[in-house]
Amino acid sequence: MYNPTVMDHFENPRNVGEIADADGMGEVGNLSCGDILRVYIKVKDNILEDVKYKTFGCGAAIASGSMLTELAKGKTVEEALAITNNTVADALGGLPPKKKHCSNLAADALHKALEDWQTKK
């Protein structure tokens, strides 16, 4: 069902966890569809120094979160804002059609985390 890249990120998800003193946090999804993804960011000098995530979701959600953190880490805020669900899905080498929304979760959570950072700043 999933390609080897997705399975790799599913098996060995990168950057799982929380950042205790995060500068921003974003959560999307709701329990009724079972999809929840939370992203934590640490921002310094306009650079995303650290990105971590947690999810309650399917294989695609776990892999999307993992890929997202890899894509976002080390990027400028502007570059991070440019990451979309398609960026994530493409980097994973594609997701099954009905799993596209799982990559939405990841990108949306990052954008929310950036908003959170902006308002706190």
Binding site: L31, C33, G34, K54, T55, F56, G57, C58, A60
Partner: protein, 389 residues
Amino acid sequence: MKKVYMDHSATTPLHPEVIDLMKFAMEHVYGNPSSLYSLGQEAKKYVDEARQKVADLIGAGFDEIYFTGGGTESDNLAIQGAVYGNEKKGNHIITSAVEHPAVLDCCRNLEKKGYELTILPVDQYGMVDPEEVNKAIKKNTVLISVMHGNNENGTIQPVQEISKIAKKQGIFFHTDCVQTVGKIPVHVDDLGADLLTISSHKIYGPKGVGLLYKRKGVRVQPLIYGGGQERRIRSGTENTLGIIGFGKAAEIAARDLETENRRVKVLRDKLIKGVLEKIPQSYLNGHKEKRLPHNAHFSFAYVEGESLLLSLDMKGIAVSTGSACSSTSLQASHVLIACGQSQELVHGSIRFTLGRDNTEEDVDYVLSVLPGVVERFRSFSPLGGENAL
């Protein structure tokens, strides 16, 4: 890597004796059973032998068996067939909230076409209350369809009591026995069934073949018209190879019913005990006693089923889940929801269904692997822990 198949309610491998007979039939039984020459009549003999075997399995008459293309078709033929075939009797159907989609979606479609439908609620174990059936009956009720054993949580319904109520009111009673046949005794008279569904591939026979038992005298309109096979109820050249395999599987199911299911139940009980002991916040779904002997169905808080399933697969363990993420419709198990379970727990549900090929080692292996997998996903989860719901 160790391979443990524990999804026998989804489908089963062919029994070796079924394979042997089917290999023989592939080479030697190729006539069309409707043909008059000897090659055709020979094929017919094999089909008739199979018909006798499946009839014997459920205590039915030879002439009350109608072969179909599977359990789903049999359910549809029973329901659409009985409703369309008895329009003068009424236009109201009663079924339960925990039926297989083959029953539930078929009934919902009839509702769209203007028929009246009552979907009975169930208790926390997924059990229908016969009293509710009684209350739901109207003057125009033509059919009651309640399954024998549930394919998800394994709960066994009080089918005898329900069929008695139906009979008293002169209403046809259909029961889906796809999950119970070969697991617990299924006898058409004991169950009081007018119509009864069985599928071959759940009892170590081939996929794509099933049967509808139709009690003599019950009117059913065909779904499929044509050459008039299966005494006009189900046209189409007979799936001889599939039917022959199904017959053999039925013979074996009858023969091994008691011993095999006693054996499997011991393993299953060990699995349930082990899981509930080793994994905190794990819950057994379905009824504790009134359940299929091979079914162990759990919900684990704070984890999602599809991820669990994929991780177990990587360790060689095949199971299924009621999580929304795993279904084509992205909807969580209607069975667990009907039992009143929270969406979140439903998402973390995993079904183990044991079978002939499972050993105690398999159970031990699952018990050695599962707690770690659950734990790992819990550590990823934004739910639970300090963020507990």
